[in-house]
Amino acid sequence: MSDQFLFATEVFFNGLMAGVLYALVALGFVLIYKASGIFNYAQGVMALFAAMTLVGIMEGQVPFSHIINAMFGTEVHHFGWHVPALLAILLTVGVMVLFAWLVQRIVMRHLVGQEPIILFMATIGLAYFLEGFSDLMWGSEIKTLDVGLPQGGSFWIEDMTAGLGSDNFYGFFIDNLDIVATAIAALLVTGLVLFAQYTKQGRAMRAVADDHQAALSVGISLNFIWVLVWSVAGFVALVAGIVWGTKSGVQFALSLIALKALPVLMLGGFTSIPGAIVGGLIIGVGEKMFEFAIGPLVGGATENWFAYVLALLFLVFRPQGLFGEKIIERV
């Protein structure tokens, strides 16, 4: 096998792994969209907020310490304890559930029945609010997150594949974290599908997604379901935040992955969980391969826009995405 082909294969696999991470974020969008018709732009910031909260709890940071210090001239920063990762994750889930409840209670309840685009803009406002809020709460410096996920290249795969090419091919470089992330994503999707298929709440969730009024008339509480959906989305955001935060540090850029998830959704269709995954993989592989093949010719950094342009071109031919429900319009 030629080296060029092997390099391309390596890029392909890395793209696949990146795609899994995109899919992880996109999943949170799909959940909320299916159940409430809200396109939640704040999903990425929720991931950031979740990851920051997790770090903050683990390190024993004092919330709002910056403001407290600025207002009262004190010097508090840490409680001085360290919380084990698992407990911290549980506490963070609690925070995300609280957040979901607050969003539902304060914002979304008042916007029921508005046009989708108004709801979308409201979530943009929510994203800004949450971004500023999480910076106020936990400080804006870059934090490292370590919950015990393995990191660094996998030597095993490198050794196994080193013999495939000529002497200057050292084997595939694949990050251990990416492999773990793939496993986590698979688990998460399986868990969500099982939850949606076999539990009472899951069934209620699907019923609401199908038809709000019919669900209401058989006695399902819409408010409860929406809080539930936002909580689940918060949980997915937490998982995405953990994986991305471990990979590249907990920082503002984390919230921008939400922007990356948008073309994934457009490609896969807003209403389909498999669509989110397939779309994520296509985008992940596509942008890495494009950068590998075409990038050097046009000056590099094509990852910034490739996904959007691909999605744009795709939408012109298939407006509902790969797996989305057909859009039917009536006057």
Binding site: F39, H66, I67, A70, M71, V107, H110, L111, Q114, P116, I117, I118, F120, M121, A122, I124, G125, L126, A127, Y128, F129, L130, E131, G132, F133, D135, L136, S140, L259, L262, P263, L265, M266, V298, G299, G300, A301, T302, N304, W305, Y308, V309, A311, L312, L315, V316, P319, E329, R330, V331
Partner: protein
């Protein structure tokens, strides 16, 4: 009492359909114009020009442009930053290629170029709508910024990758570069803003504007009653692109002077202008002014109160600003989806009856 239309009789159709049919409104409008053109230029200093007035004027143009697209035609765009960059770079290329031509021409041409680019990226709007389109315009945002960053022709192969506005004058008065007097830059922007607002106001009152609004309110129904969606949507993109291009050109040439594209015209700029439109009022020219004024003044006020009065560190104030802006967006969408413009309308209604409410 102060605001009444009693005794204000219209005797011709033109009088009845003028922009400001109420006499008080009309005079107030002339007063504001006179104040802006005849008083401010003589009292302005550098701080006021650079901190408040220039950004306000330039963002107002951008907000009017985006309001035409989002508020009047219902096509949500998140590509404003990218389109402003087109205006800025077009202006830069024209300024350096034809140094002897007047800046008025350059800015107008830059607007025209942006209009064309905007139409190009507006083409998908014929197939996709709603937030699908919003996301599609993100493609424009990221692609254009990347393009200006990576293709050296756009920044004339300068080593830093930045573009710097060379010194140019209008009728012998320097208006770009560090030596430009504050009043000249202010007047230059004000002239463009006044023209843009006039054009926008009258466009939205005419056939074109009505076809935009028909598309916004229900596109299929509009199509059935004979509005051509291709024409309506693309004209909205073209006009909006023109305004946004003008504002981008002014933003670069007059206000900043030197621009690094990712920083000056990034995605945050798109959101900023969108927020101006939402807070000001969707589908209102006055709202564009109000929203721009609000979001230009808010950071200044917060900085004065937070940093200078309370003595907080600037980064905390910056975070507070995010919280306040985000919160305001949500509050406005819940309480008053038509923004500041609607509040103004309500106030006017109240003033008409005051002090005899019955």
């Amino acid at each position: 009492m102060f605001y009444r239309e009693a005794g204000d009789f219209k005797v011709s159709y033109e009088e009845d359909s003028q922009t400001f049919p109420i006499k008080f409104d009309r005079y107030r409008y002339y007063m504001v114009l006179a104040f802006a053109f005849l008083v401010i230029p003589f009292t302005i200093n550098d701080y006021w020009a650079n901190a408040i007035l220039l950004p306000f004027l330039i963002y107002s143009i951008a907000a009017i442009g985006l309001n035409i697209l989002v508020g009047y035609c219902g096509q949500v765009s998140l590509g404003t930053g990218g389109f402003m960059a087109v205006g800025a770079y077009a202006c830069y290329k024209l300024m350096t290629a034809f140094p002897e031509v007047s800046m008025f021409v350059h800015v107008l041409l830059a607007g025209g170029v942006t209009g064309l680019v905007c139409v190009l990226f507006g083409l998908p709007s014929l197939r996709i709508k709603g937030f699908y389109l919003a996301v599609a315009t993100l493609a424009a945002q990221f692609f254009l910024v990347w393009l200006f960053n990576r293709v050296p022709w756009f920044y004339n192969y300068s080593a830093s990758g930045q573009i710097n506005a060379p010194e140019r004058d209008v009728f012998g008065i320097v208006i770009t570069g560090p030596n430009a007097p504050a009043w000249a830059t202010y007047l230059f922007c004000l002239i463009f803003l006044t023209l843009c607002a006039l054009v926008a106001r009258n466009l939205t009152r005419g056939t074109v504007g009505r076809s935009w609004m028909a598309i916004r309110d229900m596109d299929i129904a509009a199509e059935i009653i004979g509005v051509n969606p291709l024409k309506a949507k693309l004209t909205a993109f073209a006009v909006s692109g023109f305004f946004i291009g003008v504002s981008g050109a002014l933003f670069f040439a007059i206000y900043l002077g030197a621009v690094e594209v990712g920083e000056a015209f990034g995605i945050t700029k798109s959101f900023l202008v969108l927020f101006m439109v939402i807070i000001g009022g969707l589908g209102s020219i006055f709202g564009s002014f109000a929203g721009a004024a609000f979001l230009v003044l808010l950071p200044v006020v917060l900085k004065v109160v937070g940093v200078d009065v309370l003595g907080w560190p600037p980064d905390i104030v910056a975070h507070f600003q995010l919280v306040i802006v985000g919160g305001l967006i949500v509050v406005f969408l819940i309480v008053e989806p038509h923004g500041l413009a609607q509040l103004w309308r309500v106030t006017k209604e109240k003033l008409r009856l005051w002090p005899f409410p019955h």
